[in-house]
C-alpha cells in the first residue's frame, strides 16, 4: 500500500512540527510514508472565498500529484473535507472531462484520526503525554467528515494524559478562513466564548485536528497571556517519554500533572 502524506500548504509553512510529528507517528506504527514534493494546496481558501476559477489549477495539481497512491493522509480535517466534498465539483465546473474523471478516481484522502482508526485499525498508538488536555472537535472534522469519537478514542489511549471535557465543544471557534478577517468582530466574539470554555475546562493544552482553528484560538489564548498552549492531535499522538513535543508544557514534577492552567504560564 502506497501512502502519501498531504501536509497542506498551511502546515507546511506555519506548523511544520505537525508534519514532522505525523511522519514520526506513522513510521512508528510501521507505515512507509511518502511526501510527494510537487504538492502545494487543496484550494480550500480560494474555493470557500468564491474564487473557484483560481481554485481549478490547484485541484488539477493535487489530482495529478496524488493520483498514483493508494491512500492519502493529512493532518487537517478541513483540507480533507475540501478534497472529498468539493474537488469533484471544481473539476466539473472546469468543463474538463479528463479532470473530472481523474478527480473521481483519485485515492481517498483520510484525515489523520480516520486513517489511524479506520485504515491502520489502532487506537492505542503508544503515545505518552502527561498533561491535562482538552479537545476541540473542529467543525469540518465534526460535521463534514464526521470523524466522530475517533480523535477522543486516540487521546484516551495516550498514557499519562488527563483528558478533560471542553464545555460546548461543538460550537465553532469563529475562524472560518477569510471569515476571521472579513468579519473580524464576530469572529473574535465567537473565539472569546471558546477561550472562556477552554479556561473553564482547566486544561493546560488545547488539542484539535486542524491548525487553522488552533491558530485562531491560540492567537487569543496567547494575546490574553492565559498560558494555555495549543497542540495538534498529531503532536500529542507522536509524543513519547523520549521525545515530547518541543512546545509541550514542562514535564510534571509529581507523578501526575495537576498544575492548574492559570499557573502554567510562569515557565
Amino acid at each position: 500500500m502506497r501512502i502519501a502524506l498531504f501536509i497542506t500548504c498551511f502546515n507546511d509553512t506555519l506548523f511544520p512540527a505537525t508534519g514532522r510529528a505525523t511522519v514520526r507517528l506513522l513510521e512508528r506504527l510501521g507505515c512507509e510514508v511518502e511526501f510527494p514534493q510537487e504538492q502545494t494546496c487543496c484550494g480550500q481558501m480560494h474555493f470557500n472565498t468564491g474564487y473557484q476559477r483560481e481554485c481549478e489549477p490547484l485541484v488539477r495539481r493535487f489530482t495529478e500529484v496524488f493520483a498514483d497512491y493508494d491512500a492519502v493522509v493529512t493532518p487537517s480535517g478541513s483540507c480533507a473535507a475540501m478534497v472529498r466534498e468539493y474537488h469533484g465539483r471544481v473539476a466539473e465546473l472546469s468543463g474538463d472531462a479528463r479532470l473530472s474523471a481523474a478527480a473521481q478516481s483519485a485515492p481517498k484522502v483520510y484525515e489523520l484520526s480516520e486513517f489511524l482508526v479506520d485504515v491502520l485499525g489502532v487506537t492505542d498508538v503508544g503515545a505518552y503525554f502527561p498533561h491535562r488536555v482538552t479537545y476541540h472537535p473542529t467543525c469540518h472534522s465534526l460535521r463534514m467528515l464526521g470523524v466522530g469519537e475517533r480523535p477522543l478514542a486516540l487521546l484516551r489511549a495516550v498514557r499519562g494524559i488527563d483528558l478533560v471535557e471542553l464545555p460546548a465543544a461543538d460550537q465553532c471557534c469563529g475562524f472560518g478562513g477569510t471569515f476571521a478577517m472579513k468579519n473580524a468582530d464576530t469572529s473574535v466574539a465567537m473565539c472569546a466564548d471558546k477561550v472562556a470554555h477552554v479556561l473553564q475546562s482547566g486544561a493546560e493544552v488545547l488539542c484539535a485536528g486542524d491548525n487553522s482553528c488552533l491558530m485562531h484560538i491560540g492567537g487569543v489564548l496567547s494575546r490574553l497571556r492565559t498560558g494555555v498552549r495549543t497542540l495538534h492531535l498529531a503532536e500529542i499522538l507522536a509524543s513519547t517519554e523520549e521525545q515530547p513535543p518541543a512546545d509541550a508544557p514542562p514535564p510534571p514534577s509529581g507523578s501526575r500533572c495537576t498544575t492548574p492552567a492559570a499557573e502554567v504560564k510562569s515557565r
Binding site: I7, C9, N11, D12, T13, L14, F15, P16, A17, G19, R20, V23, F35, Q37, E38, Q39, T40, C41, G43, M45, H46, F47, N48, T49, G50, Y51, Q52, R53, E54, P57, L58, R61, Y86, C139, H140, L142, R143, D170, Q171, C172, G174, G176, G177, F179, A180, M181, K182, N183, A184, D185, T186, V188, A189, M190, M215, H216, G219, V220, S222, R223
Partner: protein, 480 residues
Amino acid sequence: MNDTTFLGMPAFPSAAKSALDNAQLRRNLAHATDTIRGKRAHAVGELDDWEELREAGRAIKERTLRHLDRYLIQVEERVTAAGGHVHWARDAEEARRIVIDLVQATGEREVVKVKSMATQEIGLNEALADAGISAYETDLAELIVQLGQDHPSHILVPAIHRNRAEIRDIFVRAMGDYGTAAPAGLSDDPHALAEAARRHLREKFLRAKVAVSGANFLVAETGTAVVVESEGNGRMCLTLPDTLISVVGIEKVVPTWRDLEVFLQLLPRSSTGERMNPYTSTWTGTAADDGPSTFHLVLLDAGRTDTLADPIGRQALNCIRCSACLNVCPVYERAGGHAYGSVYPGPIGAILTPQLRGTTSAVDRSLPYASTLCGACYEVCPVKINIPEVLVHLRARVVDDSRRRRIPTPEKLAMSAARWVLSHPSRLAAVQRAGSAAGRLAGRRGRISRLPGPLSAWTETRDAPAPPTETFRAWWRRNR
C-alpha cells in the same frame, strides 16, 4: 424582493459590530437561542425516524420544485373549484396592489393579520397604511415589533431581541395608541404579558371583517392551505372575518395531502421544539356555514423563479421557515437578526436574500460571507438544505460579478497572487523562505502581535504565529 423596511442597511460586518456592542441584545439572544436549542434537540431525539423524515421532506420539496408549474396549475384548479379566488403576483408591487384592491373592494379600513413572512417580505403593512388601511399584527412577537416600531430579527420570534422587561415597557407605552391599553401595573411576567395581548387584541378579532395571512403549506392535490401556529391568533383571523386574503410564495406548494404527514412532524419539532404546535388549521376554499365566505389566494413570485433557475441555489426554496438554522448559528447568536438586512435573517437569510433580491447592494453581497461554514445549520435543517454549499456557491457569484470591474479588488489581487504561488512548489518554497526571514525579525518568542496592512484585522485581537525557521518541505528534503 422589495424590502422597504430594510433599505439602506450597511453591509453585514459593520451591522454586526453594532449588535456585538449591545450587551443586552447579546444576552437576550444567547439566552433565547440556548433555550430553544435544548428544546429542539429533545423533541427531535424523541423520534427514531428523524433522519428518514428529513430525507422525505427534502425529496418532496425537490419533486415539487422540479415540477412546480404543474403543481401551481393544480392549486389554482382545486382552490377555484372549492370556491376560492386565485391571483398571481410577479413581484412585491403587484402583490401589494392586489391585496389593497381586494381590501378596498370590501369597503373596510382595517385588517387583522396572521404572522406571515411573505407579507413582511413585500412590505404589505406599509403599503396598506399608505392606502389608508390599518393592519393589525396579531401574533404576540409581531405585535411587540409593531408596537415598538421595530424591525423583526427572527423568523419564528420576530421580537427575540427583546426580553420580558423591554416587552413590558413597549406594551405600557404603546398599546393605548392602537386600542385597549395595557392594564395598570402590568408586570414583566410572561403570563401577564400574554394576558395583556389577549385583552388588547380580542376586540379587534371580534370586529374584524377582513384578515390577511400567509400559509405554511398549499396542497396541490386538494387545494388545501395550512397555517401552523401557537397562540390562536391565526385561528381567529382564519375563522371569524368574512374575507380572508392569503399571500403565499409559490414555493410553499406540496404535491399531496399525504405529504403533510412529513412536514407536520418536521416543522413543530424543528421550530419551537414541540411535538406539535398548539394549533394547526387547514382549509380548502370556503366552507358553508363555517369561516370566511370569501377566500382569495395570492400566489407570489417576487424573485422565487430567479432562485429556482439556479440548480444549486434552488434548494433554498425547500425552506419551511422553521428557524432551526438561526437558533444553532453561532454568527446569528452574536450578530443578531437585524445585521442581515432582511426579514430573512440567519443562515437561511444569507442564502435566500441574495437570491431573491440579487447581489447588487453592499449588504446583499456581504451576506454569503456572514458564515464560518461551520455546518451547524445544515445539520439541523429539517429539509436538508446544504446551506454551506449554497453559501460558497453564492460567494462565487459575488466574486464573478466583481470580475467585471475594470480595477480588481485588493482581495482579487491577493487571491490571484496566492494562486500563482500555490500553483508551483518552487514558488511556494521561495515565499516560505521570505516569510521565515521576516518572521525571525518580527516574532516575539514565536508570536507576532502586530501585522501590517489588511492582516492587521487579525492581530488587532489575536497573536499570529511567527513563521518557523524551517518549513516542513525543507525539513523533509534535509532528512530524506
